[in-house]
């Protein structure tokens, strides 16, 4: 076996120790299978569980973050705040006002946005920054009328900051411009519109424009499907009466989880409102963290259980082999040699368990990963039986831990073996 050959090369162990350990493992009447099995189950569980949790989280994060940018830079909150959150309203504590008042008069905009986009793009880790003009209004078709959030974007740029291309279920998002619009499937339903239908979009600023539906999307979020309206940037600028300015810069980092760092860096050079998806979805991230801790605890427990299993079988094994140990000692084997023999056996069990567990775990992951549920999606992709995202690093980590577990759980049995009194061992043979 490779590990054994390597160990021999290092001169840490010699041929004799390897040979005895190897023979013991091969002719142990089921103990080897048992201990290797115990380790393999641990490894299998770690690989499978990690892949599962990862798959779930990747899917969830995709669902949550895929349709929003990692970092948003805004002129100010374009959504009006409820009155009780407004400054200078402190004396009014008794009055509970829940109705959200629109404050279209307080229009905020970013004028120097081209320079700003360039600067942001130069921050390390930033993939791209795209301008957009966002405002509210409503969409109508015939007598039907629904509230709308109007996003004015350059479709090519927008696709660089949001990984939502797969979410357009019909039509072509890149076609949106002055005359073409993309709406959610829910809105299309509500308006009775379809690809090619004409709808009217009216901004809160009172500008109405007619568009042709060029694309339909399903963002996986109810709100978005109901109210989001994508139009060309200049169309939105006109409707929101902001001239050549914009309201929002959407930023995408190369790494999803560098959003906070990027946001902080942007804050250093602008007083605009900057928010990262991680800040806005703290509760969600906390849930993920809790999930990770739970998984870690389960995995640790499993590996601990494997370790105890291996250790107890090994101790029984040492007792069974005590006569042999006495003989080896009478033939001149030192305590160190005896200890190495049993440590090697632990190592062998660890390596065997790691290989077996990794193989089965990986196999299971791939089977599950390729069992698709027809017609369902998760994380913007066709849904599988269970969402799985197998990664070689789980196999590496689990295997490494298994080898350490095998080695560590053999320490006490090996020490016992080495301390065995040869006379006792032979007497009670």
């Amino acid at each position: 076996m490779g590990v054994f050959a390597w160990l021999k090369g290092t001169k840490i162990v010699n041929k004799f120790e390897l040979k005895v350990a190897w023979r013991h493992l091969l002719t142990s009447h089921g103990q080897t299978e048992l201990t290797v099995g115990a380790v393999a189950v641990g490894v299998l569980l770690v690989v499978f569980l990690s892949s599962l949790i990862n798959g779930l989280q990747v899917g969830l994060v995709e669902d949550v973050v895929g349709s929003i940018p990692h970092v948003i830079v805004e002129a100010a909150s374009h959504e009006a705040k409820p009155l009780w959150q407004m400054p200078g309203n402190g004396g009014n504590a008794g009055a509970v006002i829940t109705k959200v008042e629109k404050m279209s008069s307080q229009k905020q905009k970013i004028s120097e946005w081209r320079r700003m986009c360039e600067t942001i793009s130069m921050i390390p880790g930033v993939q791209s920054a795209a301008p957009s003009a966002v405002g509210s209004g409503f969409a109508s078709r015939g007598a039907k009328n629904v509230g709308a959030v109007i996003f004015g974007v350059d479709p090519a740029e927008e696709l660089k900051v949001k990984s939502f291309a797969a979410r357009f279920v019909q039509g072509d998002f890149s076609k949106i411009d002055q005359q073409n619009v993309a709406i959610g499937i829910k809105m299309a339903d509500d308006l009775g519109a379809n690809i090619g239908s004409r709808i009217r979009v009216t901004s809160n600023e009172g500008v109405t424009q007619t568009f042709r539906v060029a694309a339909l999307f399903d963002m996986g979020i109810e709100n978005a499907n109901e109210a989001w309206v994508y139009v060309g940037l200049s169309a939105a600028q006109g409707m929101l009466k902001i001239g050549k300015d914009i309201t929002t810069i959407n930023v995408r980092g190369r790494d999803l989880f560098s959003a906070n760092r990027i946001a902080n860096q942007i804050r250093t050079f602008t007083s605009l409102k900057v928010s990262s998806w991680m800040e806005s979805n703290k509760a969600f991230l906390d849930t993920l963290k809790a999930q990770n801790s739970a998984a870690l605890i389960i995995q640790t427990m499993t590996l601990l259980a494997s370790a105890f299993g291996v250790a107890s079988v090994m101790i029984v094994f040492v007792v069974q082999k005590s006569r042999d140990i006495g003989i080896l000692k009478s033939m001149g084997a030192t305590a160190t040699q005896i200890q190495k023999i049993f440590m090697l056996e632990g190592l062998g069990v660890g390596v065997g368990g790691a290989l077996l567990g990794s193989a089965i775990g990986t196999g299971l992951c791939f089977i599950v990963q390729n069992t698709f549920l027809p017609g369902e999606t998760f994380g913007g992709k066709p849904a599988t039986l269970v969402p799985m995202a197998w990664d070689f690093k789980y196999v590496m980590a689990a295997s490494l831990v298994a080898v350490v577990v095998g080695l560590m759980s053999s320490v006490i049995p090996a020490r016992r073996a080495s301390k065995l009194d040869p006379v006792e061992a032979i007497r009670h043979g």
Binding site: F16, V20, D324, S330, M331, G332, A333, V423, I426
Partner: protein
Amino acid sequence: MDKRKMPVVKTVGISKRYGEGVGTWALRGVNFDVAPGEFVAIVGASGSGKSTLLNMIGALDQPTSGAVYINGQNTSYLDENALAALRGDTLGFIFQFHYLLNEFSILENALMPFSIRKGGPSRDDRQWVEELFCRVGLQDSMHCRPKQLSGGQQQRGAIVRALANRPKVVLADEPTGNLDSRNGAMVFDLLRELNTTFGTGFVLVTHDDRLAREAARIVAVEDGRIVANYCVEEVEREASQLRHSEK
């Protein structure tokens, strides 16, 4: 002292107590030595301390008081690893039960001392061990596992292993105790033969007085003491002289 005459093992007033306090005194001040190439039989009743003595000589156990010298070295000054080395180089062991390792063929068992001590047998070592197998009549069963052999064959395999490392003395605790009388006699004769052919010393514990009488020297142990220690030849010479003078 002449190196050749120096005892291979020598005990000076060794006592052994098992347990704490009063305990059991298994040995009480035993002086005993084995010259190179000697064939000694230790006899005595059950519980008299024969095995204990043999374990002391083999440095498998430490005496409560007194000293054991192996090859002129006081074993009480040696650490565990040095003792193991000394055992491996100087002594061979045969036990009542064959005590071969079941996972290995008897040839591998016999070559084990070389693996332990120097990483593997040389060509010479191999030849020597194969010759030993021929001597004990196991040349055709060398590659068998112990379980595939009869009790007598197993014990002969154990003898080969004990002799493999060319020890100066082989310590055997009732090597025939587990064999029927025919096989026992055969193993005993074999030991005698190996003693005369290769000059290997033997110290063997036996219950069988008939076999003991074949030894060159008989040591009788009783209650942890040596109560008789005589050369069979001398005794017979004296006996015959006695008979002559009676005439």
